[in-house]
């Protein structure tokens, strides 16, 4: 009997948390749509979230493209006795899946954790209460600038990741595997369509929403001093990563169903 009670309690708590997170998301969206947000802070967040994430995104995507080219070459050589379709495999994998997913996962770790810990620290040190008493809505001042920055910067970073990943694959194909540059290029251009790029970019917007909503919610509801900040930060990263990977499947199925990529 106790096990049912425990499961029920967990389920209720999860439902309550999801409801509160959804309510916060709607508050952020409403504030954004009414145009009541701090523009100076938004620019600062774009630099912090977007520009400063460029090196780590470029590094991870370049090596992902390179290893993908290498693995594809070994696999096709085993089956067909020669490395073929490397450009297509690298292009499709990077643009539709690995570009958006890896970018989102890296940003969940780098930016999601930073947002949750910063807002969480502000919460436990009463700085968020201080904002209220100084006539500032914390959603407007803290959450909306981060929301806008994420929704704009994640797709841009995904495009960078796509380009650098494909270039990484190109270098391995040409200089290590000895494939002619034009073959790699034709493998991509002959088979890929613009919809494939949009497929990845649409997913990246959803991933940005997942990261920023989770991070803001966990930050604003943080309790329990330094330990609470650590817990909120960890939960933000874990929840964001799991939700990115789970939602990726459903988003892919949905987008394919509607003919996007």
């Amino acid at each position: 009997m106790k096990i049912f009670w425990l499961i029920g309690e967990k389920f209720l708590k999860l439902s309550e948390e999801l409801g509160c997170a959804y309510k916060m998301f709607m508050q952020i969206l409403h504030t954004f749509l009414t145009g009541k947000y701090d523009k100076e802070n938004t620019t600062y967040q774009m630099v912090l979230i977007g520009v400063k994430s460029i090196p780590v995104i470029l590094l991870t995507s370049a090596f992902t493209g390179m290893v993908l080219a290498l693995q594809t070459a070994y696999s096709t050589r085993n089956i067909f006795n020669e490395p073929i379709y490397i450009g297509s495999v690298v292009g499709f994998s990077i643009v539709k899946e690995l570009g958006p997913v890896l970018t989102a996962v890296v940003l969940a770790g780098r930016v999601g954790a930073a947002i949750a810990s910063e807002l969480g620290t502000m919460k436990v040190t009463e700085q968020i209460d201080a904002l209220y008493t100084l006539g500032t809505n914390p959603i407007r001042y803290l959450a909306v600038p981060r929301f806008i920055s994420m929704v704009i910067m994640v797709p841009i970073l995904t495009i960078f990741a796509d380009i650098v990943g494909i270039i990484g694959g190109f270098f391995v194909s040409v200089y290590k595997l000895g494939i002619a540059p034009v073959v790699y290029q034709n493998d991509i251009l002959d088979y890929m369509r613009t919809e494939d790029l949009f497929h990845g970019l649409i997913k990246s917007v959803f991933f940005a929403l997942i990261i920023v909503t989770t991070a803001c919610y966990k930050g604003f509801t943080c309790e329990g001093g330094a330990e609470g900040v650590g817990r909120s930060t960890t939960q933000t990263v874990v929840i964001s990563m799991v939700m990115i990977l789970v939602s990726d499947y459903f988003l892919t199925a949905l987008l394919v169903m509607f003919g996007v990529g």
Binding site: T121, M122, T125, E126, Q127, D129, A130, Y132, T133, L134, G135, T136, N137
Partner: protein
């Protein structure tokens, strides 16, 4: 005038208020005393609208604030200045930006006037020339004083002090007490102080109320509190472990 009428509040199983009634007259300095965790800070957070009661009413200048929407509540909050227990200075901003924060939100002053106002507020609390320092470079006492400068910058009618002397040395605590009295005299504000420091309470207040077991169990002037026969108040003000208030040691 602030009037609290029969407010009740619980956090899950924990009942904090069981019908609190309190009236705060304009121009007075009222100190709310009570043991740690009895709900003193929760009470003033209700008055400024940071928390909502489960039932009951709170009137600020005859306006009931517990059911106001966010925009109307922000209008009422313009009357308040709040000194938080932890000072709550914004880490990412320097002293000048912290003190100017509320002024910039009001959008009623030019940048030049804001700079002058910041200088004036810092001078009132005896900390000139620290405008460019970050909160991390300040001592505990300096942080509280800067937070006080931020609280008075917008010219509030009511100033709330949450444990103003906690966590600082006795001399700095007395400096803060003197500042509270000085601001009270020069700005003619209504001050609402929450503390369990009786030295401070007796020095700064002209009215004291004690919160115990979710209710206000006694009110009076400092001299009335010193002579009280109420066993709960007597035990608390004398700081005795013997009496009707039982502390859980284990």
């Amino acid at each position: 005038m602030i009037k609290i009428v029969n407010i009740h509040k619980s956090f899950c199983e924990n009942v904090v208020f069981k019908g609190v009634d309190l009236e705060i007259k304009d121009g007075e300095t009222i100190t709310i005393i009570g043991g740690s965790g009895c709900g003193k800070s929760v009470l003033i957070k209700h008055i400024v609208g940071l928390l909502k009661p489960d039932s009951g009413e709170i009137y600020v200048d005859n306006e009931e604030i517990t059911k106001l929407d966010e925009d109307k509540l922000f209008e009422v909050q313009k009357k308040f200045g709040f000194l938080f227990q932890s000072a709550a200075l914004f880490d990412s901003l320097n002293v000048k930006e912290n003190v100017a924060f509320g002024l910039r939100n009001l959008k009623i002053m030019s940048e030049h006037d804001i700079s002058e106002k910041v200088k004036e507020c810092l001078s009132r609390i005896g900390l000139e020339g620290i405008e460019n320092m970050k909160p991390s470079e300040l001592s505990g006492g300096m942080k509280k004083r800067v937070a006080l400068a931020r609280a008075i910058a917008t010219g509030p009618k009511y100033i709330f002090y949450d444990e103003p002397t906690t966590g600082i040395d006795p001399i700095m605590a007395d400096v803060i007490n003197d500042l509270i009295i000085h601001l009270q005299k020069t700005l003619a504000v209504t001050s609402i102080v929450v503390t369990h420091d009786m030295t401070s309470a007796y020095k700064i207040s002209n009215h004291i109320a004690m919160l115990y077991d979710g209710k206000i169990i006694g009110e009076g002037t400092p001299s009335e509190f010193k002579k009280t026969e109420n066993m709960y108040i007597k035990q608390f003000t004398t700081g005795s472990s013997v009496g009707p208030i039982k502390m859980k040691v284990r």
